[in-house]
Symmetry: C2
Subunit: 225 residues, 2 copies
DNA sequence: AAAAAATAAACTGTCGACAGTCAGCTATCG
DNA sequence: CGATAGCTGACTGTCGACAGTTTATTTTTT
């Protein structure tokens, strides 16, 4: 019997073909194997991957949900392009969402939440000392998502995922800028402190500042590439 | 020749079968012909509508993008349920997005923007005097979307659409509460004034207050139904 | 009679095929 | 020589069918 029919989504399940194609496509897009603006050729790709067109189409729709591609009726599926200007927009949105999440999380946080955050923080710490942007990025994402969980706004994670995936299309991440990891780490430590102190205003301010800081770092790095 | 290959999305095009199925489905969901939590039976629906399953699936994926349904692998597509608690979450998100948009729009607004807003305002005015929530809703949406346009954050409208469609699943809208139309109209007039004065702080505050006010109205109406 | 197992029915995932549409090329016309 | 119209190849939209799962039903077991 189903103990909780509402929460069916979270069960173990092997991925369907569409899911496999989806991650494969995401990978191809992020690695620029398929370049921005280019069309995803369904029939060609289906031959390459050895599957029919149905899972390919399914995967494209999934990626559209994440704003990574744009499906144009009767024309095809195109990898989205992203301009510096739009990256700034996305960072602005991240800033206000993080600010909100920080404020809400600070007033709700519990001991076990703090220990989970501390784990992510230590992951970020070791990634920083090994100068490993990839792992830092993951731990960083986990840190922020944990704060969302604590904040408890159920709709926030979905929105945020779209924003981050879309921003990932941009060739440059703030974390790939030399010296950024250390700065970012320090900011997360401060956020952690503010959360421990249950200081909502301070947490909100730090979260916002953190994102706006990353935004500025990107803008600066573009001016002098 | 294509004058602007980037902006292909906006061209005249007759709807595909999937599009028709999609709006039909949306309608069925909002009218509760298919109830929240229920599965959308692809094969059954394909017989009813006289099309194959492919357009049906396509439409479901489209609705998933708008958070109106949840697609669970190998189980089917389910109409999303929405609790009062989540409606509050959605209003919170609308509040911070509107606040942000208001601040940004106030610093960028031009004369022709103001006249467009004035038009929407007068639409809302006549809808109010005729006590027509449907038309009021549309004019209201147009008003807010115009502010987004002025703010110029390209990603904002997409996010906002998801939030509003999702909130529409809830049986009650703040605008359906007796007396709300007049209150809402007054608030929009104040927002318009603040925008005219290019007062960013004031506009932001009013926008946020307006949404939070609507949220509170819903909460109150639920306590005493 | 309640729980578990086995069976049957229904449904989704995937496939290959065909038709209508679109992009690019060639030939025609001014 | 440039622009337009018609043609051609390629691709997406849609279809019906089949296979593997999931759900509902029936049978068996305790």
């Amino acid at each position: 019997m189903e103990p909780d029919a509402q929460r069916i989504s979270e069960r173990i399940e092997r991925p369907s073909l569409s899911d496999i194609v989806c991650s494969r496509l995401e990978q191809m897009i992020l690695s620029r194997e398929i370049q921005p603006g280019k069309r995803i050729n369904e029939s060609k790709l289906s031959k390459v991957l050895g599957v029919s067109r149905a899972p390919i189409r399914e995967a494209c729709r999934q990626l559209e949900k994440l704003w990574m591609v744009e499906v144009i009726p009767r024309r095809g599926t195109f990898v989205r392009e992203i301009e510096a200007e739009e990256v700034e927009d996305l960072y602005d949105l991240r800033a206000i969402l993080d600010e909100y999440a920080g404020r809400k999380a600070a007033s709700k946080i519990r001991k076990k939440d703090l220990s989970l955050l501390r784990e992510h923080l230590s992951d970020m710490e070791s990634a920083t000392s090994q100068n490993d942007p990839g792992n830092y990025f993951r731990a960083n994402l986990a840190f922020h998502q944990t704060i969302f969980d604590i904040a408890g706004n159920k709709s926030l994670p979905m929105i945020y995922e779209g924003i981050t995936k879309r921003a990932a299309l941009f060739r440059k991440s703030s974390l790939s800028i030399p010296g950024r990891l250390a700065v970012s780490l320090q900011q997360h430590k401060e956020i952690f402190e503010a959360l421990s102190a249950r200081d909502a205003a301070k947490t909100a301010e730090l979260m916002k500042g953190h994102v706006m800081n990353a935004k500025q770092a990107i803008i600066n790095s573009l001016d002098q590439p």
